[in-house]
């Protein structure tokens, strides 16, 4: 495992291009595009103001930079550096901007969700979509980029509109039986749309592409409901995380629940491996580290080394007492992610903030639990293999695979706090994003990694 040098970054804006060749990052008002392998600067663009959002077009030819404060979107071409495009939303304001899947249209949401403007880069044409709903996830494209589902709110009722992306024609428009629609999400096969109600009511609705209601699911009443939703890559399962600290898995045939994953604070099952991050005194463990970060060994250490220990069951995890009198309490399953091969599901229960739960989807049971020393900020699956990268806002990055897990110190002067991370699509490198800096972490090739992970006893 090697680390690149540390580059400057602002607002955690750093993204790999969809083809994996480039890496775009923002420093204040500048957009820097680097080669993803050599990290040499390919292009440098200067925007009019502080960049608040960037997005690559699907064909990796354009980059969109949104300057919300100014109501501006600036688009840059990688092929033609001199080409530029500026979209001004004027007094309508701008709160969100995204590419359409074809990479030739930009959808801008105006302030107060008055409308969505679809700007085309090919023609002068501008389309407007009225009544978009201001919600958690109101806009969803199918994976093949053909359709757009949009949550709408008209006359105090929720609707979903399905548009054809090629010409922005409305295909279907139907109302959903929800109190307050919170989000919509397409199944990866693009044939089923999941819509869920706001946290006040537990309700999941499943619609076919042609607008038929396939099924409704409600686990319980009265208490706070759904917090997070995730489709499995095979579209077979829909995982629904809720405020009661459970994940319910629905199947794609009957759309009924097939299992329920609870997140208890104590783990008693001896079959489950519980990895507990433990600090260790630096002189002891350095030589034995299987993944010795070269600079970490030579350079000065800002924080103590840590390693994973396999905890003896029963293990009680550190729990957080949620403040009951505040809105958005820190309870329930707030993060869900299926591994790309469908085998695993990683979850985080927000009142056990230090733990990441990995579930075996094939056997529908808990597989492993990782307990970190501090609260888990983000985790993401390697797009190629069942490998999970976790960061906790400290100077370490954690990797889990079925064979074991490691804790790696990010080298560098000062305290580099990893707040977020994103994988390169090849799974060979990982961008670690801090508050002001980012660096790349290059993982060994698959063989090397597999052998390294194979020696579980050494570095767990």
């Amino acid at each position: 495992m090697n680390f690149s040098e540390v580059f400057k970054l602002s607002s955690l804006l750093c993204k790999f291009s969809p083809d994996g060749k480039y890496l775009a990052s923002c420093v204040q008002y500048r957009l820097v595009v680097r080669d993803a392998n050599t990290l040499q600067i390919v292009q440098l663009y200067t925007c009019l103001d502080q960049i608040q959002h960037i997005e690559w077009s699907a064909d990796s030819l354009f980059i969109l930079c949104a300057l919300y404060k100014r109501g501006l979107v600036q688009v840059w071409s990688l092929e033609q550096p001199e080409w530029h495009c500026k979209i001004d939303e004027g007094s309508a304001g701008l709160v969100a901007s995204c590419w359409s899947p074809d990479g030739r249209h930009i959808l801008n949401t105006t302030e107060f969700h008055l409308r969505i403007t679809v700007w085309s880069l090919c023609t002068k044409s501008v389309s407007y979509i009225k009544y978009p709903k201001a919600c958690q996830q109101g806009l969803a494209f199918t994976r093949d980029g053909r359709y757009l589902a949009l949550a709408e709110r008209r006359d105090c009722r929720d609707y979903v509109s399905i548009f054809v992306c090629s010409d922005w024609q409305l295909l279907r428009h139907f109302d959903t039986d929800t109190q307050d629609l919170a989000g919509i999400e397409w199944a990866p096969n693009g044939c089923v749309l999941a819509a869920w109600d706001s946290c006040l009511e537990y309700k999941v609705l499943l619609y076919s592409l042609d607008g038929r209601l396939l099924s409704t699911y409600c686990a319980y009443e009265w208490s706070l409901g759904i917090k997070s939703v995730a489709w499995s890559p095979s579209s077979q399962f829909l995982a629904v995380g809720s405020y009661d600290g459970k994940v319910r898995i629905l199947n794609h045939v009957t759309w009924k629940m097939i299992t329920e994953f609870g997140h208890p604070a104590t783990i008693n099952n001896p079959k489950i491996v519980v990895y507990k991050e433990a600090e260790k005194s630096p002189p002891l463990g350095l030589g034995r580290l299987a993944f010795p970060p070269p600079r970490a060994v030579t350079g000065p250490l800002s924080s103590p080394e840590s390693k994973y220990e396999i905890a003896e069951v029963p293990v009680s995890l550190q729990t957080l007492k949620p403040a009951a009198d505040r809105a958005n309490p820190r309870i329930g399953v707030g993060a869900l992610a299926f591994s790309p091969d469908n085998y695993f599901l990683a979850t985080r229960n927000d009142n056990l903030p230090n733990a990441v739960w990995v579930w075996d989807v094939q056997k529908l049971r808990l597989f492993a639990v990782l307990e970190q020393l501090s609260a888990v900020r983000a985790f993401q699956w390697d797009p190629r293999q069942p490998r999970l990268a976790i960061c906790t806002g400290g100077s370490k990055v954690y990797l889990w695979s079925p064979a074991g897990c490691v804790s790696v110190q990010v080298p560098g002067e000062g305290d580099f706090q990893v707040l977020s991370l994103c994988w390169h699509l090849s799974g060979d490198s990982l961008a670690l994003l801090g508050k002001d800096h980012f660096c790349l972490c290059f993982l060994e090739t698959e063989e090397g990694v597999s052998t390294a992970f194979g020696q579980r006893g050494d570095h767990t």
Binding site: E82, G90, R104, T123, S125, C156, D180, C191
Partner: protein, 612 residues
Amino acid sequence: MGDWMTVTDSENKNISQYTSETKMSPSSLYSQQVLCSSIPLSKNVHSFFSAFCTEENIEQSISYLDQELTTFGFPSLYEESKGKETKRELNIVAVLNCMNELLVLQRKNLLAQENVETQNLKLGSDMDHLQNCYAKLKEQLENSRREMIGLQERDRQLQCKNRNLHQLLKNEKDEVQKLQNIIASRATQYNHDMKRKEREYNKLKERLHQLVMNKKDKKIAMEVLNYVGRADGKRGSWRTGKTEARNEDEMYKILLNDYEYRQKQILMENAELKKVLQQMKKEMISLLSPQKQKPRERADDSTGTVISDVEEDAGELSRESMWDLSCETVREQLTNSIRKQWRILKSHVEKLDNQVSKVHLEGFSDEDVISRQDHEQETEKLELEIQHCKEMIKTQQQLLQQQLATACDDDTTSLLRDCYLLEEKERLKEEWSLFKEQKKNFEKERRSFTEAAIRLGLERKAFEEERASWLKQQFLNMTTFDHQNSENVKLFSAFSGTGSDRDNPTVHSRPRQKKPHSVSDGSPVCTSKLARSLPASPSTSDFCKTRSCVSEHSSSVSALNVTPEETRPSQAGRECADQKWSMASRPGSQEGCHSGCSLPYTNSHVEKDDLP
């Protein structure tokens, strides 16, 4: 009791005093009472007594006593008066009788008193005990009563508490209901308000929209250097009804594709499952068919028919061989047959289970079923045996090799090879025992021979002496009868023929050797012939025969020993060799065998040495 004793003693004294002092006074009654009640006052009483009767009032005292005694039913102290004028005389006898009776009475009373007192004491202690008991029980009762009251109180309290809790629960339930109602009402209120607010918000939005969008905002614009081509290279198309229809078409195509894909997957899954089912069915049939005889024999008609059905089905299915022909009938057939099979299998398994449980219940008494332990023991035993046998074979092989190293005659090897057989070994063992017996016989004979020889020696000595004396006589007289002498010699030789001549071979003289034929009985001739007729390589049975023959004629040793004398030395040697061979060819070749055989051999050998 000691006190009592002393008291009685003193009383006795008092009594003696009374008896000695016959004078009585009217106050004696009182004094007696005093005496009874307070014995320690006896001394005072004594003084009283002295006061009762004085010289002056003897008469009065006596009359008083008489009166008293008569009132108590005693006879009068006075003699019967004959006349009134005569003064009544004091009857001493009556007085004494009265006294005695009084004393006896007194003693009785004392005894009674004693008894009463002890009883009283006893009763008193009993009373005490009972009182104690009573007190204790009373206390216990009091305690129990108190406890009971306490418990009752507690019970009451608990009931109270329970009632309270019930009340609380009810209250809570009510509260919950109320809260739920509140929540519901609030929710509806909230929703209502939300809707109202949203409507307002929407109005505002609309207004804003109008304000912001309708006023031709110059700022809302896109500056672009030049328009870029579409990603797919096509030009944008106009929105028409046609495109709409096309979009619909496409959507349905996508949906259709998805459904087709899913159907395909389901079909595949179905096929897999069917395959598994078929496989299961086949295996079940093969598993159950060996038992089909049994159920039929048991006159279990239903299962029998089912099986035949199943077989038909199987035949049909295999003939048609259509996995993927998912028409209803086939499916039904398959599922039905599987179900039947499964039922049979289940019942069979249950039966087996029952059997097993029965066996378990019956324990190991069931002879039909060999318990596992027995099995294990048996196998262990067998293994041990195998081990044993292996060792035996090994030792045999070793011995064989030794044998081969020492004597490797062709015939012997062939024979040796044969002796791998256990039967042979057994037989040879028998032979060996026979041989041993024979050896014993030989030994016995030898002993008898030696004894005979000793006897002979003695006799000979006597004879010698006799002869010497006779010769002396002859010498002294004139020696004339030569033939007489030769006859004597002949006689001597006949004598020696029955005994073994090896004891004193030196005595034998040439001329005597011609004689044995006539002297010895017929049997030795026979044996010698037999011995000579031994084939060059006799089978063991032959050998056995000969040997049995030999053993029959226990005396044949002498014959054997004697006969070679007649034959030429070479012939004798051959026989010797024969003998030797027969010994060497002993299978199993035990040492004992050699030693057992060595006797006849050495005998013959010795004989041979002696021959010249």
